[in-house]
Amino acid sequence: MGLFDKLAGWLGLKKKEVNVLCLGLDNSGKTTIINQLKPSNAQAQDIVPTIGFSIEKFKTSRDSLSFTVFDMSGQGRYRNLWEHYYKEGQAIIFVIDSSDKLRMVVAKEELDTLFSHPDIKHRRIPILFFANKMDLKEALSSVKVSQLLCLENIKDKPWHICASNAIKGEGLQEGVDWLQDQIRTMRT
């Protein structure tokens, strides 16, 4: 980063851009969460399973961070695409379907693969977990989800889990605020 860029950053002239990876199993609600975070006039009505990945850009309301979100497909056959974007990602949003008890092990397995990848392993990259679908009656609590995913073992990265209901948009802002704080502290 050149001197002028830094200067522009301090003066608040340049918009701060952040690349965020949105990961998680299929049908966990990644696209729905991203859709909710977009301004209401840009939101899509129907959410269909993502093929490959899609890129969404939006600004957060509180300050001038500009998010570029890589909304990856969670389907098994596209999950091997994830690792190609690890390098660019400056933050990760990991979405979990907290009503799918059976596939919690699969989510954990994908998370372990993520953490053992050389592009992620040694970086202090903030990770935000959404324990999604909290409205369903068979949903596990966010504490239970973090237990099942063994999140307490993450020592070298800042992480945060929040319960969410992406369809109504509940809990999303709390998570995004945390992510913004983390990104800001990392930059200064």
């Binding site: 299929d26 059976l102 596939r103 919690m104 092990v105 397995e109 994908e110 693969t113």
Partner: protein, 587 residues
């Protein structure tokens, strides 16, 4: 490859599966034939449908699982013998129906609600039996004569008795009257029961095509039913009662039904043939039957797994470490992987690709039913139920790789590498010709030499016995046995002779021991001494000391003779190989 890397590879290999769910008290008792995975609601999430056998007499249930929980439960009237899911029609949404075979009926469920009940056509009744029951109805005969007449029919009639008559014959005399009064008014029927059930696509090869039900009956018949009207489209007969079947193809085009029968044979039926086309005669009864592409894999009661072509030619046999409990097919079309799952009585599930063992799964209990496919949203899910009523769900890892080579210990790879055998030389060919022509003469020469060798050996042995060179005395008057032990590092050794009189009762007297050795090398305090009276059976240790005189690290043999007083020929001889003296002699 470093040790750590190998370790990592091993741990990777052992964990191809994720443990998604284990409920040891699911109270689910079933077999592979009563398990199916189906997208019952058309929402893209497959459910597990199980015909639960309950205790075997009651509590039979049709259970549907979704994720880790039970979704619904329907009571079944009788024990289920088979359960399949199939698409009946082209209507949207494409939700499959469930067919449960039980007794002579097939209960069809749609949207988990009873939809249709199919009954097997009744069979011809023995005319004599019919007459006897008509007489019983009109009270013309009493129960005892009814019993006698039915027994007579049972023993020689060509058409077997109906279930009612057979049950009547089983009763105790005091119960017979009530049984006859209860049943005599109803018309007599003879019905067979369903033993196995399968599905066959009607006219399309697609996964979601409309399919017919294929059923095997106790009456040695195979029926193919229309998917919508449940009429019998085709009927085929077998030489024995079918127990397991596998169906492939399309009804309107060409199909193949592979049926394992109770007589231990496997028959292969095809379209346009009322009789089996091919027959595989197994050496032991089949326990599991699975089709892999065009081949048939059979698990036999003799702890073997055998592969056959679709024409009944045997391809291979694998010997298993334990009896087979059940078998299933593992099909992953997205990865192009197909394998056979074999559950063993040793609480293991082996995954075989052809005859190669590619993976082993340990289970906490003996697996009685196994099923692989899409469950929930996960394609590679393995579902097992155990003998104790447990339910195990495992998910294949996305990164799991099955190696093609055999992971079981077997002949090393080098064994199958072809050796570079040199070409046959003229000399070799000449020798072969000579051997072929003079085979008899060569054999005789060999036999002659062998006999001579034996003779020479026997002669040497006799000579040794005659001259008492052996440490066992052969003479009848003095049967003696001796062995010698040398102790010490040198230069002085302790020599212990253990002498035993092996006679039954006679003691031996007047014996002496004499040593013969190189006097330049060894010295002995007493090279000759007498032996006391030897009582039969006891072991007499005699000690003496030998001094080694040389410091050159050489050793020699010391000969021990046991002599009888007044006779120069020894009774027995022992050669003692002295050890090399490790110490230096004191001057």
């Amino acid at each position: 490859m470093s040790a750590a890397q190998i370790e990592q590879d091993n741990s990777m290999a052992s964990s191809k599966w994720l443990d998604a769910h284990y409920d040891p008290v699911a109270n689910l008792y079933t077999f592979s034939s009563c398990m199916a995975l189906a997208d019952l609601h058309g929402d893209g999430e497959s459910k597990l449908v199980v015909g639960d056998l309950g205790t075997g007499t009651n509590n039979m249930k049709l259970r549907v699982y979704h994720g880790t929980g039970l979704l619904s439960e329907n009571t079944l009237l009788d024990l289920p013998t088979g359960l399949v899911s199939f698409l009946m029609d082209q209507h949207e949404p494409r939700t499959p129906a469930i067919a449960v075979a039980s007794g002579p009926f097939i209960y069809v469920y749609k949207n988990l609600r009873p939809y249709f009940k199919f009954t097997l056509p009744s069979l011809e009744i023995n005319a004599l039996e019919q007459d006897v029951w008509i007489q019983a109805r009109q009270d013309m005969i009493d129960t005892m004569s009814l019993k006698e007449m039915l027994e007579g029919i049972r023993d020689k009639a060509e058409i077997p008795l109906s279930v009612r008559s057979l049950r009547f014959l089983m009763l105790e005399p005091q119960d017979m009257e009530a049984f006859v009064n209860l049943h005599k008014e109803q018309p007599l029927r003879r019905q067979t029961v369903i033993t196995c059930i399968g599905t066959l696509n009607k006219n399309m090869a697609d996964e979601d095509a409309v399919s017919c039900l294929v059923i095997g009956t106790e009456n040695k018949d195979v029926f193919i039913l229309d998917p919508e009207a449940f009429t019998i489209l085709s009927k085929m007969s077998l030489p024995s009662v079918p127990t397991m079947m596998d169906v492939t193809g399309q009804f309107d085009v060409e199909f193949r039904i592979t049926v394992a029968c109770r007589n231990g044979n496997i028959y292969i039926l095809r379209r346009d043939s009322l009789q089996p086309k091919y027959c595989i005669e197994l050496s032991a009864h089949p326990v599991g039957l699975v089709r892999m592409g065009k081949n048939v894999v059979v698990g036999c009661a003799q702890e073997t797994l055998q592969g056959y072509t679709q024409k009944g030619k045997k391809l291979w046999t694998v010997y298993l470490p334990a009896p087979v409990t059940t078998m299933g097919v593992m099909d992953l079309p997205t990865r192009g992987f197909q394998a056979v799952l074999v559950a063993l009585a040793s609480c293991e599930v082996h995954v075989y690709r052809d005859k190669n063992l590619v993976s082993t799964i340990k289970t906490p209990d003996v697996v009685t039913s196994i099923c692989f496919g899409r469950y929930g949203r996960e394609d590679g899910t393995l579902i097992m139920t155990t003998k104790g009523g447990g339910l195990i769900v495992k998910i294949l890892k996305r990164t799991a790789v099955f190696e093609d080579r055999d992971s079981a210990p077997g002949p090393p790879l080098a064994q199958s590498i072809r050796l570079n055998v040199p070409k046959k030389t003229k000399l070799y060919v000449d020798q072969t010709m000579r051997e072929r022509e003079n085979a008899v003469a060569m054999h005789r020469a060999f036999q002659m030499d062998l006999s001579r060798l034996r003779l020479a050996a026997a002669r040497a042995y006799v000579k040794a016995l005659e001259s008492s060179l052996a440490p066992m005395s052969a003479s009848i008057t003095e049967p003696l046995k001796m062995n010698a032990v040398v102790q010490g590092l040198g230069p002085s050794f302790k020599l212990t002779l253990n002498i035993q009189n092996t006679a039954a009762s006679r003691p031996v007297m007047n014996l002496a021991v004499c040593f013969l050795f190189d006097e330049g090398l060894y010295s002995m305090r007493t090279a000759f001494f007498k032996i006391p009276l030897l009582v039969p059976g006891l072991n007499y240790p005699i000690d003496t000391f030998v001094e080694c005189l040389s410091d050159k690290g050489i050793s020699d043999i010391i000969k021990v003779f046991v002599l009888r007083e007044g006779k120069s020929a020894p009774l027995l001889t022992a050669h003692i190989n002295m050890p090399v003296s490790e110490g230096l002699p004191l001057n």
